[in-house]
């Protein structure tokens, strides 16, 4: 995943990002040395289970982590500026303007006491001095773009008067109203009906094309990833354990955890009633991440590794192809063997 | 409120009127006159914890302090007590509305008073015999005029019905009016009033000092509500009255009052102001500081915590407060009534009396500030009617220490033929009374008697203990005479027709002796009879006398005269003044 030619750095380049929360029960390592990069107009999917640190990563990029309660280290270069080192006021000016975010639960992400119109124009006014009327026009136009019927009328409605899908459209309108160059969508469809999910994803893609936006899509739904992502980063236990292009991840997975994820996708060729193959065990607590490879307690292939390096040594991120990186102690040959075995068993996933 | 404000100070003793007679009992004489000459004018302030006067209607007033206050300011009576700190002089009477102290004929069964010229009501109309007669007649309307003394009913020559009530039902119904008109008659010129009594009352001219015999103009009588706007015959009239905390009563000069017709009242100040509902601590603090208006303020009590500040001893005032404070025997006797219906066995009653730690009770009340040990219900300052009853020396078989004698009590119980009793002690609740109850419980307990305290909200107290079904065995009480004759004590406390017979005592011999004593014209003989009856009641342990009360008072720096008026055990309101500057 190297930078593009015309610049030293990628449009957004995150390197060695760590976020730690000191709590009464100990230090929570929510993000531990995460790196990735993304260019304008492209979509990066961050995939992982709950608690794997993907949401915290996104919020850290947006500067939404309260530095009073957390230690954030590493670098986040956004259009040439380091967001980690940037003072709050600078971040604020970027947020909602050059970079925007939409959240998982549209039911609770809109302020229940304010009309949606006010919430939209507020986003405009936070960054630009515009007249009330033109802010309103822009909001209505944006509502129209995200597919809200009769936007001028609904401008004065309260959030509770909208359905979940419509609210997520409002959220998207709010995020895109200042034409950001980076959009982070944190599980934007998880809380929605299946039929609405597709519409929302389609809407995001469509607007991404229109505004040439870089999109980070955070999800645990590999199905979406296959549809819209250009690049994929798989997170587990606060770390990126594998990253690469969609093809790399879906067709040449290297890491046993990625394999497990793929294996748990229901497939068209699956015999009805067959159980999915879950990965045994539970995700690790961010309070007590396992030493060595974070996945080792659940990894069924660690007997293929000689010695106890899985338990003792943290695997380094290893390049296994152009822009394809993986953290695993399995020797390259073993990795390939394991992957082939799994994929053959499963059949190739449908895209 | 139960514990924080100690309830009405007035109610502490009970709804009893008071007057005390002669003789220098108890050896107290710290009375001093306030320094300075009287000034005409100014305002005198009367600070009180009470939220209102119990009654303002003249026929319904029956509390010593209130009688003194209203008699001194707005209600003239036929006769009145002289102003003097001297116990004898201060309880002797002079003519007020009447020209003299009245004339008795028919062996004391007919009394005649002549009304002064120039006495008027606040509207300028003259006070006539008819007004006095009308005022007196109101007492008979017992369904409207409640709470006042009922001597008119018991003394006037009007027949009683079978149920014991008077055949005259008062002026409102007019039933039996002719009977009253026969008992109280007016001369043709309206100047002379004659009372025909049902029995000889040698001291009836003392009876008419009560405002129950004050004149009321018929046209102004509003019955139940007369107290809201009573008509003044004295030097002041009520300008405004607002009851309750923060409320006040303002008395201003009655310009129709003619000083020439009234040589009894001095009427120095222009205004009297009564401030209701003040916290007792606030009253003390204000009088101690005596700044501003408080320099001419008075009140009628001091909290125990301030006693040490104001007094060196119960008979000596600290120099700082010289001329401003008094500590005197008051007219009251404190006692515990034993309900003889519920404790019929004399030995048991004796055992209770013997076991009681009167020393601790007195200490709890304030030690020697609270008064002397009592040996009966007649107090030494009653003069001729008092004689030591020997209660604690001989009446109980042997000398009983002030702290009680549990061993003797146990012997008495053993001799009673009954088991040690379980009794309940009724008392009006206050923090001090709670501690007194603890003393009662503890000291009786030492003799094996189980006592249970029964605190009653002060305002409900007499309502409960006068109800024979609700009163228990031992009842806290206090009593002061209505005028200097034990006829206002013994019959009231110990006969079924008395108004304060908490003991439910009903002894035929005793009742007969009381009736004889009541009509005995020879005062010395009568006094001996009261002394004997007092001793008899003590021998029967109808009550356990605990204390001849003493009280302490403080006034501001510029008010006088400062002495306890023996007549009512009150301030001498009618001659009080602001000190000339």
């Amino acid at each position: 995943m190297a930078g593009k030619a015309n610049s030293q750095r990628a449009f957004l380049e995150v390197s060695d990002l760590s976020v730690q929360f000191p709590t009464e029960d100990g230090i929570v390592r929510a993000v531990d040395g995460v790196s990735f990069a993304i260019e304008r107009g492209k979509t990066l999917a961050i995939v992982g289970e709950s608690g794997s640190g993907k949401s915290v990563t996104a919020q850290a990029v947006m500067g939404l982590i309260n530095k009073r309660n957390a230690d954030v280290s590493g670098e986040v270069f956004f259009d040439g500026e380091d967001l980690v080192a940037m003072p709050e006021e600078g971040l604020r000016k970027l947020r909602g303007n050059k970079m925007a975010m939409i959240f998982q639960d549209p039911m609770s992400s809109l302020h229940p006491f304010y009309r949606i119109g006010d919430q939209l124009t507020e986003a405009v006014n936070a960054h630009e001095k515009v007249s009330k009327a033109s802010a309103r026009d822009r909001a209505i136009e944006m509502l129209h773009k995200v597919g809200i019927p009769a936007p001028a009328k609904r401008f004065d409605d309260y959030p509770h008067q909208f359905s979940g899908g419509m609210r997520q459209r409002v959220m998207i309108a709010m995020a895109l109203i200042n034409s950001p160059s980076l959009l982070i969508a944190d599980e934007p469809t998880t809380a929605l009906d299946v039929t609405v999910q597709a519409q929302i994803i389609e809407l995001i893609s469509q607007l991404q094309r229109e505004f040439d936006t870089a999109v980070i899509l955070i999800t645990h739904d590999l199905g979406i990833v296959a549809d819209v992502a250009d690049e994929v980063a798989v997170m587990y236990g606060a770390r990126v354990v594998e990253s690469g292009s969609v093809d790399d991840i879906f067709y040449h997975p290297q890491m046993p955890y990625t394999l497990g994820l793929l294996a748990s996708i229901p497939r068209l060729n699956q015999v009805p009633g067959d159980r999915l193959d879950p990965i045994p065990g539970n995700p690790p607590s961010p309070l007590r991440l396992p030493t060595g490879c974070v996945f080792n307690p659940r990894c069924v292939y660690q007997d293929r590794v000689t010695g106890d390096v899985c338990q003792t040594q943290r695997p380094a991120l290893e390049d296994v192809g152009a822009g394809h990186q993986v953290r695993c102690h399995l020797p390259a040959t073993e990795r390939q063997a394991v992957a082939d075995l799994t994929l053959n068993l499963l059949g190739r996933p449908s895209r | 409120m139960g514990k924080a404000n100690k309830g009405l100070r007035l109610a502490a003793v009970g709804a009893v009127a008071a007057l005390a007679l002669a003789a220098c009992g108890g050896g107290s004489s710290s009375s001093t006159s306030g320094g300075g000459e009287p000034a005409k004018g100014g305002t005198l302030y009367y600070l009180t914890n009470a939220e209102q006067f119990d009654q303002i209607d003249p026929q319904r007033i029956y509390t010593g302090e209130d009688l003194a206050f209203f008699n001194g300011t707005i209600y003239r009576t036929l006769t009145a007590y002289k102003f003097s700190p001297d116990a004898a002089e201060g309880t002797s009477i002079v003519g007020d509305l009447a020209t003299d102290t009245g004339t008795a004929t028919n062996g004391g069964q007919t009394w005649e008073f002549t009304i002064r010229d120039g006495a008027t009501f606040q509207d300028g109309s003259p006070v006539t015999c008819a007004d006095v007669a009308y005022g007196t007649s109101r007492t008979f309307a017992t369904d409207v005029i409640t709470g006042g003394p009922t001597y008119a009913i018991s003394m006037l020559d009007i027949p009683t019905l079978e149920d014991g009530s008077s055949a005259y039902k008062g002026p409102y119904t007019g039933e039996g009016q002719e009977l009253f008109d026969k008992a109280v008659t007016c001369s043709a010129d309206g100047k002379t009033i004659t009372f025909n009594l049902s029995r000889p009352v040698p001291d009836f001219n003392y009876t008419v000092t009560l405002t129950a015999f004050a004149p009321v103009p018929k046209a102004s009588d509003t019955g139940e509500k007369y107290g809201d706007a009573p008509v003044s015959s004295g030097p002041y009239k009520i300008e405004s009255n607002k009851n309750g905390k923060g409320g006040k009563m303002v008395l201003v000069r009655n310009d129709k009052w003619d000083p020439a017709s009234d040589d009894y009242r001095k009427a120095y100040p222009d205004t009297w102001q009564v401030d209701y509902g003040l916290d007792v601590k606030v009253i003390d603090q204000r009088l101690l500081a005596s700044s501003g208006n408080d320099a001419t303020a008075l009140a009628n009590g001091v909290e125990p915590e301030q006693l040490g500040v104001i007094f060196k001893s119960p008979t000596e005032v600290n120099p700082e407060f010289a001329g401003r404070a008094i500590s005197e025997l008051d007219p009251y006797v404190r006692y515990l009534a034993i309900n003889v219906q519920k404790v019929p066995n004399l030995k048991i009653r004796q055992a209770i009396a013997v076991a009681l730690d009167r020393d601790a009770l007195r200490k709890n009340a304030g030690g020697d500030f609270a008064g002397d040990y009592a040996d009966g219900v007649i107090k030494p300052n009653m003069g001729v009617d008092y004689a030591p009853s020997g209660m604690w020396e001989t009446l109980l078989g042997e000398k009983v220490a002030d702290a009680g004698n549990p061993e003797l009590a146990k012997k008495l119980i053993a001799a009673s033929g009954e088991a040690a009793p379980t009794i309940t002690f009724d008392y009006p609740q206050s923090p001090t009374a709670d501690k007194a109850a603890a003393i009662v419980v503890d000291s009786l307990g030492k003799a094996g008697i189980t006592a249970k305290p029964n605190p009653i909200e002060p305002g409900q107290y007499y309502g409960v203990v006068f109800d024979p079904e609700k009163a228990h065995e031992l009842i806290n009480a206090g009593w002061g005479p209505d005028w200097p004759n034990a006829s206002t004590i013994i019959p009231e406390l110990f006969t079924p027709t008395g108004g304060f017979n908490l003991s439910q005592y009903d002894n035929a011999d005793f009742n007969a002796a009381v009736e004889t004593a009541k009509i005995e014209p020879d005062r010395a003989k009568q006094a001996k009879m009261w002394q004997d009856l007092n001793t008899k009641a003590m021998a029967d342990v109808v009550v356990i006398p605990t204390r001849f009360g003493r009280e302490q008072r403080l006034v501001g720096k510029q008010i006088g005269p400062v002495y306890l008026w023996p007549a009512y055990g009150s301030w001498p309101y009618a001659e009080m003044y602001a000190v000339q500057q």
Partner: protein
């Protein structure tokens, strides 16, 4: 589009951890780590022990709350002899004005009564609040409405005034019902009225919890399997309620200690010769400008009692729900 089925559980940082340990153990671990709470818990246990063994302690010190010491008070006015309310070796905290009774002993016996009333009333409140809350939430419909209206009615009453006004008559009724005369009746009265005016608050909380728990799958599953109503109420629903109930109970106890003291202060307390904190404070009013220790000794003990209870209550709540409380 499909979801990855293996992903489950709340999306919170500690969620998976919490799930893996028993809640009770976590709460206890958290409590033990809270030093202040442990100190308070220790103080509370000590206070309960002192209350229980008050007669023994007084006996050892040679004081008792009932006997009069006429030597220790002045015959003029009845005030205590000596400074600070007559503090001496004989009377470690001084003596009462007018009687010479020992303040220290009164304090210990007052503590006994305070704790007895507050603890019992809390237990009753929790019992009624829980039972009626569960019934109200689970039964719904008319039962719910009746209980709801009753709660409204009770909460609309000026309860202090009612307790004051009714104390005499209701105490007598209790005696008539066979509760021993005197203090047993009065204490019972206080316990009952505190519980009567206290349960609706808890019942509301419990009702709300029941409504949300009822909707959860495991209860539905039980119903589907034909479990008895009793089983559903007490085996399935009750265990989910103990956290809010425990929090409510620990915070109610100190409230009752305070309310009991206020009522005694207003004169609705135990009968003489017994006394309680509120009674002692009420007595102090007449004397505290001269003897301030009458105000401060019972006042400070009362405050310490309430503060320690509150601190323990806070700690329990924090342990149960770390988001809500202190950090």
């Amino acid at each position: 589009m499909v979801k990855v089925a293996l992903i489950d559980g709340p999306d919170s940082l500690t969620g998976s951890e919490v799930a893996s340990r028993s809640l009770r153990k976590i709460v206890w671990t958290r409590l033990r780590r809270d030093k202040l709470a442990m100190v308070c818990l220790f103080i509370l246990i000590a206070l309960y022990l002192i209350a229980i063994f008050a007669p023994v302690i007084c006996g050892l010190l040679g004081v008792d709350p009932y006997s009069f010491d006429k030597e220790s008070i002045s015959d003029s006015g009845g005030g205590p002899v000596g400074t600070w309310g007559g503090i001496s070796t004989e009377h470690p905290l001084g003596v009462e004005w007018g009687t010479g009774r020992d303040i220290f002993a009164q304090l210990l016996y007052g503590l006994r009564i305070s704790l007895l009333i507050a603890t019992t009333a809390t237990i009753l409140t929790v019992f009624f609040g829980t039972v009626l809350g569960i019934i109200s939430g689970y039964a719904g419909g008319k039962t719910d409405a009746v209980i709801g209206r009753t709660m409204d009615l009770i909460l609309a009453f000026p309860f202090l005034l009612i307790i004051l006004a009714m104390s005499g008559v209701l105490t007598q009724r209790l005696t008539a019902l066979g509760v021993p005369d005197g203090n047993p009746s009065r204490i019972t009265y206080l316990i009952i009225v505190l519980s009567i005016f206290g349960w609706p608050y808890l019942a509301r909380i419990v009702r709300g919890q029941v409504l949300s728990v009822r909707e959860r799958e495991f209860v539905e599953a039980s119903i589907a399997m034909g479990a008895s109503r009793y089983r559903i109420l007490f085996k399935e629903i009750l265990p989910n309620l103990w956290a809010p109930i425990l929090v409510y109970a620990t915070l109610t106890l100190p409230t009752y200690v305070g309310t009991e003291a206020a009522l005694s202060f207003l004169g609705v307390g135990v009968l003489p010769p017994d006394t309680s904190f509120g009674g002692m404070l009420g007595n102090s009013v007449s004397y505290f400008s001269v003897v301030p220790s009458y105000l401060f000794i019972p006042g400070v003990v009362l405050v310490v009692l309430v503060v320690t209870f509150n601190l323990v209550g806070d700690a329990v709540r924090d342990a149960l729900d770390p988001r809500a409380g202190r950090v």
